[in-house]
Amino acid sequence: MPEYDAVVIGAGNGGLTGALTLARAGRKVLLLERHNVPGGCATSFVRGRFEFEVALHQLSGMGSAERPGPLRSVLNDLGVMDKLEFVEMENLYRVVWPDTFDITLRAERNAIVETLQERFPKEKDNIPRFFDLVYSFSMEMVQGLFFKDPNISKEKYPLFFKYALTPTQKVLDEYFSDPLLKAVLSIYWSYAGVPPKWFSFGDFAIMLFAYIEFKPYHLKGGSQALSNALLDEFINNGGEVRFNCGAKKITTKGGRVTGVTTEQGDTVQTRYVLSNTSMLQTYLDLMDPDQVPRETLDGFRSTSIGPSAFSIYMGFDCEPEELGIQETTNFITTTTDMDKAFARWKTMEQQGVALLTCYDVSDPDFSPPGTCQAAYVALQYGDPWYLVPPHQYYDAKYRYAQGMMELAEKVFPGIQGHIEEMEIATPMTHLRYLGHLGGAIYGHDQYTKDTQYFMANRSPVQGLYFAGAWASQGGFQPTLTSGRSSAKAILKSMAKK
């Protein structure tokens, strides 16, 4: 029976960085992927003359070569930077409410403050105060938490201890009275998938801070280029990968991982498994019930399956300007009531809130000359789609997409008439390709109670580790980082033997 030092299940962001970290340390690693291409969410697909970016909108934590952010350092360590070309975005985002409001924020603190002050003169003094808080808080979080200050205390990091778990909405209410301003400032809540009233200020502040300080990025060839680069380096380091071959069973003995059986029916021996599939699915579907302690499964009772997305990928027969698209990142909204918008994520009702990303604005080479593409997304839970009878599925999909296109038309009139290629992904599509219940794209719901402070990330099964959104947070930077840290934990455990 073939033997590996470690088996990595799933070639998503976390699986890839994890597998590569292990391979670079000289370990013999098998990477299993059920799909035919690496990346999980970080992938692309081709229709007509377009290669559509599936999931990456704004890569956080990169920073420039001179002032590297945490993610750049991770990718540097993994030896893939020379295979990739990153594209910096000048602007943070545009928020547009058809016929009502329109604002674009540059990815620069002072410019943001000035733009907001100009648009919200009544809040003139509150705006810089709020950014002072975001920045001071984030500095404390970086010092105290990320750099693991051994003398961390309430006295030394007062802002961190006061605000880390405070709902973002509460802080916004403390600083501002204009609901529109609050909506504009907190619009990244949709990247986290939790409305401001349940989104911890700690996570929100550090996200906003990181996007402003390290700038939003994309890369040539899209997220698939990153996945391919990580995999290539993995192979170059002696790693073995199998596509179209998922894991079927993780075997254990006496509470310790002993091997993995693949979908193709062969079994390999290993003492370490890094699972990049959902934690829940790993325990439910990849392990025998008697091998998972009851308390472990009960641990999931306090969590809930997070949101998926309804995505429309569009290839246009013209340049962005002709469509009136001037920004890469366009948040479209028709409300300041985020709770209501969020509630609709669990229904088939149109939400009136969506994100349209046109990559070609920042990277004119992204699509073929004379064309451009957009990923147009509204978050939505999988639940309402479970209720659609299979034979009404395609009708339901087009109906929902049409509603979203009507919203897009209000911001970019005539856009629908320029679409050459269109592909629509529902939560069921994400469920199919990711293999997660609910088609969840960010793991479980990331309410304040689900943040890192409350998570027991140790598996009761010895040798079983996790990477990806379910083990940390959703999004590219967190998942890429999680694979690396879990792999380091595995290496540490191996070294003890």
Partner: protein, 387 residues
């Protein structure tokens, strides 16, 4: 001291910790969802289908419809125009071919696939001559991108079919007629001779019953005294029959030669690329005639293909790599067999392959040396990594 020791000092920590304690007690027990994911997936996109021929319908002297019913469970939905990839084993070789459903999506009891005899059709001959009711097959779930999108294709559709290329259109027409959909359809249907028109009677009946559906049959090789339209589906014919072409959406499905011809005709009529959708058609009949094929390599050339850590085989340069692998008993995942879907995506370690224009490789796949073996022709000795 680490955060763990002082975590209770974070404002709000205690409250949340007690909320969690309550939820852990009363929250949903996920252990009930064991196996749920797969059963949800099976509703829409089962990994594989097991199908049985319930009936074989003689359509013309050279075409038959195989009516396929599910062996277990039920059939997943599809969009009119999509296909299944049917796996067959012929003389020890396992291969697969794509067949568009000719039945409409509203027919949920069976899938009809209609097979026409083609000159050297390895699989079509088997299905026409050997297959019989009761035979069972494995197939893929419905797949493919040749379908009508109500958001962007408008309501005025022109279908251009050649030979067995009628099958996806038959599904679309039957669906539009059966569901009373608000679309106008004109079908141009090119056949070699009047005897080759598949579904002729049904098409005629539908066009009589539905004012929004009309058709023109065009015979390329008419018998003496033939009264109907003869020739090809030309620009002149289209203009004459359709009148104003603006806002019309064209769908093409048929043999390679028809595409070459009709594409030019549509271009001459000024139809923009956005308003033309063409179904893929598998590997070209004669790869050496393709643009970019290296002149130095003739039709008889052979090269060696070695699989890293495995065996080495000798193959013909003019056959798609996937077919050569299948001939030597190596079955790699396949679906579209036209270079589109990337299911067969394989890493090329050494040597060169020729991939005709239209093979849909991702940019970064190209950068990192991946090929689509279903439409890749080895033109030197190569080494591949089967993953």
């Amino acid at each position: 001291m680490s955060l763990k020791d002082v975590i209770h000092d974070i404002e709000g920590y205690q409250d949340i910790a007690s909320e969690i304690a309550v939820l852990k007690k009363y929250g949903f027990d996920y252990s009930a969802q064991r196996g749920q994911l797969e059963s949800i997936l099976d509703m829409l996109h089962p990994k594989k289908l097991r199908l049985r021929i319930s009936e074989i319908i003689e359509e013309t002297r050279s075409a038959k419809t195989l009516r396929l019913v599910p062996v277990q469970s039920y059939l997943p939905p599809f969009q009119a125009g999509q296909y299944i990839s049917l796996v067959v084993e012929i003389g020890g070789v396992v291969t697969s071919r794509d067949y568009s459903m000719s039945s409409p999506p509203s027919q949920i009891g069976y899938y009809d696939v209609t097979v026409r005899r083609v000159g050297d059709g390895f699989v079509s001959e088997y299905l026409l001559d050997e297959a019989k009711p009761g035979d069972e097959f494995t197939s893929s779930s419905p797949a493919g991108n040749f379908y009508y999108n109500p958001l962007i294709h408008g309501r005025d559709l022109v279908f251009i079919a050649g030979g067995s290329g009628i099958t996806p259109f038959m599904s679309m027409i039957r669906e539009a007629a059966g569901r009373g959909l608000d679309r106008r359809i004109h079908l141009f249907y090119g056949s070699q001779s009047p005897d080759d028109i598949i579904f002729g009677q049904e098409i005629e009946d539908l066009s009589r019953r539905h004012s929004n559906f009309t058709w023109t049959s065009v015979i390329s090789d008419p018998p003496q005294g033939y009264q109907g339209r003869a020739g090809f589906i030309s620009a002149g014919l289209m203009e004459e029959v359709l009148g104003d072409l603006s806002d019309k959406m064209f769908f093409l499905c048929g043999p390679e030669a028809m595409y070459t011809f009709c594409r030019k005709e549509l271009a001459s009529l000024g139809v923009p690329g956005r308003r033309i959708r063409i179904e893929m058609y598998g590997p070209p009949k004669n790869i050496t005639a393709c643009q970019g094929w290296p002149e130095s390599i003739d039709a008889g050339a052979t090269v060696s293909v070695s699989m890293k850590g495995g065996k080495t085989i000798t193959v013909r340069s003019t056959e798609p790599l996937m077919n050569s692998l299948e001939r030597s008993g190596i079955v790699i995942p396949s679906l579209c067999r036209s270079g589109e879907c990337s299911l067969c995506r394989t890493k090329l370690l050494k040597g060169k392959v020729f991939q005709p224009e239209g093979v849909k490789l991702r940019k970064s796949d190209r950068q990192f040396g991946y090929i689509h073996p279903c439409m890749a022709y080895p033109i030197s000795d190569i080494e591949i990594l089967l993953q």
